[in-house]
Symmetry: C2
Subunit: 165 residues, 2 copies
């Protein structure tokens, strides 16, 4: 089955026959697939009245384990947004009652963000919905193929994740 990247690569081969555009076969597909996944995620979360950014923050706290709390700084490094953005996000999540701000007992400059009970439930439900959606997308592949794909992708991501970039 042909996809958009096949057409993209064919167009470049016609217009720039002098160039080797083979890298696009892999990396353009990664970018485009990620874009499709963003849309799918947005749809899955909408069923739970959550925006993608809300899911990101809530699940970071959820993964931290009991008592489900992190500093804004820790949330920054996990979600890769700037501090202004995180302040804004925490404000809105607090207004919706999904997280609460607590003073950090060990550092009076600091704040801790803690998941409320409702926040934890919403995060858990949204994660289950996301996994259902993702399983449907991966339905195309056999279990062996998924393993192979995960392994190949890990080879590409590991350098970024380990040699800090």
């Amino acid at each position: 089955m042909e996809d958009e990247v096949d057409r993209l690569v064919a167009a470049w081969r016609r217009e720039r026959p002098d160039l080797d555009v083979e890298p696009l076969e892999v990396l353009s597909r990664v970018s485009r697939l990620a874009r499709h996944l963003d849309r799918a995620r947005r749809l899955a979360f909408a069923e739970h009245q959550l925006e993608p950014w809300e899911f990101d923050v809530l699940t970071a706290l959820r993964r931290a384990g009991n008592p489900y709390q992190l500093s804004p700084g820790q949330l920054l490094t996990q979600t890769l947004v700037t501090s202004g953005t995180m302040t804004n996000r925490i404000d809105r999540l607090a207004k919706k009652g999904l997280v609460e701000r607590l003073p950090d007992p060990s550092d009076r400059r600091g704040v801790l963000v803690r998941l409320t009970e409702e926040g934890r439930d919403r995060a858990d439900q949204a994660l289950a919905g996301l996994l259902d959606q993702e399983r449907a997308i991966l339905g195309e592949l056999s279990s062996a193929q998924r393993g192979e794909l995960a392994g190949l992708l890990r080879q590409l991501t590991a350098p970024f994740d380990n040699i800090p970039g």
Copy 2:
């Protein structure tokens, strides 16, 4: 070699041992890799004084072939942005002298966007730079592995690209 997704999956297995989080092994890596690629692209384009969105528009016109012109509507479908965004982008590219607006001779409502000579050169240079960068990222993989990866990814993207979404 371990990556961030290995850590993410391990955290979920600890916190939610009841859930099958295996889909994340593939799809979280796709999303994260796409994010890294965006950063790398931004760096590669900066050497040619281009923003990623500028590259997207210029190369869509470049791939159209001589005389390197498309309607704003055609650009919308290729770049997946809304019309307000595209109007804004064309304005800024025109101000920089990389594209020009022409009246559509066959439809007096319409406009055609045409690449200037400088626009074409900049697009060609930026593409070459991007491909160099991408080859470096793919250096991890053998030629056979790249082919395998491209094939597996095509299976995932084809449904999105063919059953319109």
